[in-house]
Amino acid sequence: MNIARRKFAIVFSLVFLSQFSFAQSGNGSSYLIYGLIGIGLLLLVFAVLTLADNLIQIEGQKMGVDSKKHDLGIFPNVTDMFSKKTPQFVNNGEGFKSFSKGFDIKLAGEATGEIKNVQTSRYALKPTDFIGMSPIPKVLVAAGDEVKAGDAIFFDKKRPNIIYTSPVSGEVVEVKRGAKRSIAEIIILADKEISFKEITAPDLATIDRDALKSFFLENGVWAMFNQRPFDIVADEEVVPRDIFISTFSTAPLALDNSIVIKGNEAAFQKGVDALGIMTDGSVHLGLDARGAAPVAGFASCTGVKKNYFSGKHPAGNVGIQIHNTAPIKGSDVVWTLDVQDVITIGKLFTEGKYDASRVIAVGGAQVTEPSIIRTYQGAHVGDLVAGNLSDNKNRIIAGDVLSGKQTTEEDFLGFGNTQISVIREGDDYEAFGWLLPIKPRPSISGTFPNFLYPNHKFEGETNTHGEKRAFVVSGQYESVLPMDIYPQHLMKAIMAGDFERMEGLGINELSEEDLAVCEFVCTSKMPLQSLLREGLDMMRADG
């Protein structure tokens, strides 16, 4: 029994006992009078207890007792009573939050084991990966050019300082155009042995923010700075209030970052140090407190504020972590980065090269041998999954099943992808499927017997399990989103184009991945993520 509960028992029994003083009397003629006396006595006992409690605490402080460690009060702390116990590995001064809201979609085909090195033949850099980029960026290379990893490839004409660089070395084979002559992707045929552009990194101990900023802008890592609000490539003119890095993902079949950090501890630390210069606030590290202590690479990182989080998906989403440590308010701007991006930044300093290698988890029920692969940014999807898929009715997703992008074997991975999920395309009819489903399917609803099989791993399929309807059910989104946000009302504000309400209801704190689990559970099958992006675009255009 924890202390808070013990205290509750004591206070409760004290107050309860006080009732006996008048319970004996009375012939039942006027319950009102006795009721009032009872309430009065309750208040009196409560007042005496509160007074005594305060006196004890004041006395305790005078005597120099640490009030954080030894809680002297007689009243239990309500949050203490119901919240999860802080794990042992969380040190003093580090935050800990446990979320009861959320939903884990347990899928079969989790990628495990050692990292395999896979060299695919072609890689691509896609301007379409960057939200808000003009459709025809200035491409600095032409087909046939030889590039090294880290060489400039293109830049956005609206923001010419941000250079996007090549993830690999090799020959540019094609500048592929999409609709209306927009640039769809720049495809590079990679060398067998990747050669890197030589970079002379500045000394972090002496450099100032402006110099570091132009160093980042030139060397292609600026594109890794995601800015909230809007979840876009960071605005170079704005100094972020804080920088947030989530070191774990709770998404279905997500990559385990403790594998990624192995051997890259120094680079990660260096990257974090560099980020510290870029912000006036602090670099926040979100750590996994769901199970055993996080690996040393994260836990012993210095120069950061550590916050531990425990709970179901989306506890690992950086947006949730920001909201629960230092929420975005008013005109605040924060940056978010992925662990592998931080390592890439760190390697600019430790190894003097732009190393865009990425560890990718390839998983899902349709993958014969789920595995963890080391390749480079923008790798060819077909090469990564070749011969590893079970049949031909597959949905290949660059990212997780909730917020990833649909892709094909002919396509390339996106800029920030660390995961490929493959599930079955569920385009078949099911007789009375809405009433008597034959195959098990994940759901938060109690109408499925899923609670009998808490560890069942679902195969998962892309069927919508129903048609789109108007909003009917309420409270569903809130039950899986550990944020003080009302998604349904926010969506209505977006549909109505009400800017003030959108901002007030917290649109600036959200990105698509945060609402993905809400979209999953939606009974009315609403497209929340695309609605949210519409709203974010409106807010961005509005300035």
Partner: protein, 416 residues
């Protein structure tokens, strides 16, 4: 998959015959979960959809249906002083109940669904499932002898003015089923209020009034004669001396709890073998349905709990006040008299018309319990308050949500 192909072959053309196509689509999606796959956004969807949600509410009401039907027959014979045991004359009670229940059920659904289908075809969207629940609720909250044409008008009013005018399922402000009932209540008050309407099969409840049986009764009589069991006897079935047909609420209004318990034992009121609206009398079955809804997370436990708290709070205040006999009815009596529990389980929890925020739900439920109890106890014209209280709070639910959201917004903007 042969059947699917066959069904797909007979699919009517959407442009040439929109109504047929809507109808076809409605029944096809009922028989087969569609083959649509996710596009953009999430790649997997929860197994729950609106059809499944609605059908679970309907499932939760099934026992109330069975009991309500039988109880109609039971009350009919109790009024005549025959077959006083609950199981006695089982076949007669069941048949009598069915003869009254089926037309009500069929009329409510034909009218409601017909309008729903027509609007869906006109608007060119799929048939929405909202009326599944409304249509199942309406028969349960009607008096047993409600004239069918009044029922049809009420359902049409509720669906057209109450729902389609606002844009269909999910857009309505007031609970559709209650709107149908409130329509009957205000337009044809004598069919839904007073002591006379809660027993079926008699024209009045004056002493000695003979039961009036229909053609269907005669049909079953010949069957029963063939089987050699008791039959409906129009001549010998008449209202016994001193039978009033009053419900517990009417009795409580006249003479308090004592007056109620003189006529009905608490067990009778609890198990529901008393006159009343068709589906609301049996408390254990309603509580069972409510638990089913809570366990399957279909309905909000917050609203149910807060409404219970609100009702009990007001009942206790009335107990303390004690100005009229009705006020002195103990709080637990107030809970199992009348349709408090039915309103709590099935009416107040309608997610569309209730508050949308969790904080709002607590306030909304509490206020229904609180106001409904006031209407019940203080209103001499109509001793049941839940219908009016729920419609009243339906109206205010958006306002409650507005203030909850404003609080959330100001918290965020304060530090701006």
């Amino acid at each position: 998959m042969g059947l699917v192909d066959l069904l797909k072959k007979i699919e009517p053309d959407k442009k040439n015959s929109p109504f047929l196509h809507t109808l076809y689509d409605g029944f096809f999606t009922f028989a087969y979960a569609p083959n649509t796959v996710t596009k953009g956004g999430v790649h997997m969807r929860d197994g729950m959809d609106l059809k499944r949600l609605m059908v679970h509410v309907v499932l939760a009401m099934q026992l109330c249906y069975v009991f309500g039907t039988y109880n109609m027959g039971h009350q009919h014979f109790v009024a005549a002083g025959q077959y006083l045991g609950f199981i006695e004359g089982f076949h007669l009670k069941l048949v009598h109940g069915l003869i009254h229940m089926l037309p009500i059920f069929v009329v409510a659904h034909v009218v409601g669904l017909g309008i729903e289908f027509w609007f869906a075809a006109k608007k060119g969207h799929a048939i929405e499932e909202g009326f599944l629940v409304s249509g199942a609720l309406i028969p349960l909250i009607m008096p047993p002898d409600v004239p069918l044409w009044i029922l049809a008008v009420a359902v049409a009013f509720a669906v057209i003015i109450g729902k389609e005018a606002f844009g269909g399922t999910g857009m309505n402000i007031w609970n559709v089923a209650l709107l149908a009932r409130v329509f009957v209540f205000f337009a044809y008050p004598t069919t839904i209020a007073g002591d006379e309407v809660w027993v079926s099969g008699y024209n009045t409840l004056a002493e000695g009034t003979q039961a009036s049986y229909t053609f269907a009764h005669g049909l079953f009589n010949s069957l029963f004669e063939f089987m050699g069991v008791a039959t409906f006897q129009e001549a010998s079935t008449h209202i016994v001396d001193g039978y009033s047909g009053a419900t517990p609420l009417a009795l409580a209004y006249q003479g308090g709890w004592e007056n109620v318990t003189n006529t009905f034992s608490p067990a009778q009121m609890f198990w529901g073998t008393i006159p009343g609206s068709i589906g609301e009398t049996s408390k254990p079955l309603i509580i069972g349905g409510a638990l089913f809804l809570i366990i399957t997370k279909v309905a909000s436990w917050r609203i149910m709990l807060s409404m219970l708290i609100g009702g009990i709070t007001m009942a206790l205040i009335f107990n303390a006040w004690g100005a009229t006999p009705f006020m002195e009815v103990p709080w637990y009596g107030q809970i199992y008299m009348g349709s408090f529990l039915f309103a709590m389980a099935f009416m107040a929890t309608d997610p569309v018309t209730a508050s949308g925020t969790n904080t709002g739900k607590w306030i909304y439920g509490f206020m229904i319990g609180f106001i409904g109890m006031i209407v019940r106890v203080l209103n001499p014209a109509y001793p049941e308050g839940w219908m009016l209280a729920i419609l009243f709070m339906n109206t205010f639910a958006p306002l409650i949500d507005h203030y909850v959201l404003e609080a959330n917004m100001s918290k965020r903007m304060k530090h701006a």
